[in-house]
Amino acid sequence: MFEFATLLASESEEMPSVLAVPLDELIIGLIAFLLVFGTLAKFVLPKIKVTLDERANLIEGGLERAGKAEEAAAAVLAEYQKQLAGAREEASAIRTAAQADRTAIVEEARNEARIAAAGVTAAAEAAMAAERAQAVSALTRQVGELALSLADKVVGEALSNDARVASTVDSFIADLERAAAK
């Protein structure tokens, strides 16, 4: 306690209080601050502010560009999917059409074949009929002639000279032929 008191006493004699504010220190402190503030505010900090703003802009711009690219990609994808769906639809339509065509073609071919077959059959039948008619006609004539010659031999020579008889025989043969032709 005693020492403390002497310390205070000696202090007040020898040196100023720690709470003293000498004007020269105040001014030097002010100069120090103004030097730092002036230099930083005028020459140093504006540069970094510009750089930071630029960087922020760049990042924002980058994000915007990325967003736009994403949008464009989505649009392309949608377009592609639309096209794909269209192509698929078209393919299915073509397939359906082809199926219909095939059916039609097969049907047509079948019809043609049927017609051709019918033609061939008809021609064959006609030929057969013609041949048969010819054969019947020839046979009838021969049978007529045969019967005539037989009757001639049975009845005698008299019949062959008689014109009336001859025409009767001819009309009989003609009737025979007509009947055969039917």
Binding site: L7, M15, A20, P22, F33, L35, L45, I48
Partner: protein, 274 residues
């Protein structure tokens, strides 16, 4: 007196040698003028304080001048560190505290933060070992600068009447309370505020420096070949190391608090809130 921590008791002042503990006192904050010059009748003392002050100025301008000499979009090395400091002030202090219109005050607050921090930091730099802000005139200077910034700014932004009205008659209070509140607000904002702004920084750095000095002196004073001496000296030395680390934290914290308060004052001048 300049290097008086160990000299105050003399190199042979040890425990058990009949010499009392030479506790460091106010004298460790007194420095002889290395030289003196006079301008306009006022004599300027150039002492350790002045030199450390100017050294801080050189360090700050030198570092940031170098870091931001040619700022790149993709930062490298010193620019990274410098940007960290800039963003800390911009986002951590200005945007949080002032908000709109605060951009203008970034250089002001930036200068304060780094000047105060480096001046504090000298306290644990070997060779310097003096937090310049523990010299009362320095925080007083800074507090005055802040005061003569925010008061005129408030008058300019809110008008003379509006500014004082906003401070003396905070809205949302029963009318009768103004009888009590107005004098308190007036005193607290215009008288106590600059005073505490300066004293808070000064007292923290002053006390921290005294504490460090006391334990360093004790470590030296107790260093004798005796049980008490060795244990006491080792404990004091350990404490000195730990307190130095603690001081490093306090130095940054006090610089932050000083700058934050400056930002709060400027913010209150820009927008009348409450």
């Amino acid at each position: 007196m300049a290097f008086s921590v160990l000299a105050s008791g003399g190199p042979n002042c040890k425990i058990f040698s009949g010499c009392g503990f030479p506790a460091p006192g106010a004298e460790i904050f007194q420095f002889d003028a290395l030289f003196t010059f006079t301008i306009g009748g006022l004599s300027f003392n150039i002492s350790k304080v002045t030199i450390l002050l100017l050294l801080a100025v050189v360090v700050i301008i030198g570092f940031f001048g170098y870091a931001f000499r040619k700022p790149k979009l993709v930062p490298r090395g010193a620019q990274n560190v410098g940007e960290l400091g800039y963003l800390f002030i911009r986002d951590g202090i200005v945007k949080e505290t002032i908000g709109k219109g605060g951009e203008t005050f970034i250089p002001f607050l930036f200068s304060f933060f780094f000047l105060v921090w480096i001046l504090n930091f000298w306290g644990i730099v070997p060779g310097a070992q003096l937090p310049v802000t523990s010299i009362f005139a320095i925080p007083v200077t800074f507090a005055i600068i802040v005061y003569v910034t925010w008061v005129p700014l408030g008058i300019y932004k809110q008008g003379f009447v509006g500014f004082f009205k906003n401070i003396m008659f905070p809205p949302g209070v029963p009318k009768g309370m103004y009888l009590l509140l107005t004098p308190i607000e007036l005193i607290s904002n215009f008288l106590v505020r600059p005073f505490t702004h300066a004293v808070r920084l000064f007292a923290n750095m002053f006390a921290g420096h005294l504490l460090l000095a006391s334990f360093s002196v004790a470590a030296f004073y107790l260093l004798t070949f005796s049980f008490i001496g060795i244990v006491g000296s080792a404990a004091s030395f350990t404490l000195t190391v730990l307190l130095t680390a603690f001081e490093a934290f306090i130095q940054a914290l006090q610089a932050y608090i000083f700058t934050l308060l400056a930002a709060v004052y400027i913010g209150s001048a820009l927008h009348a809130e409450h």
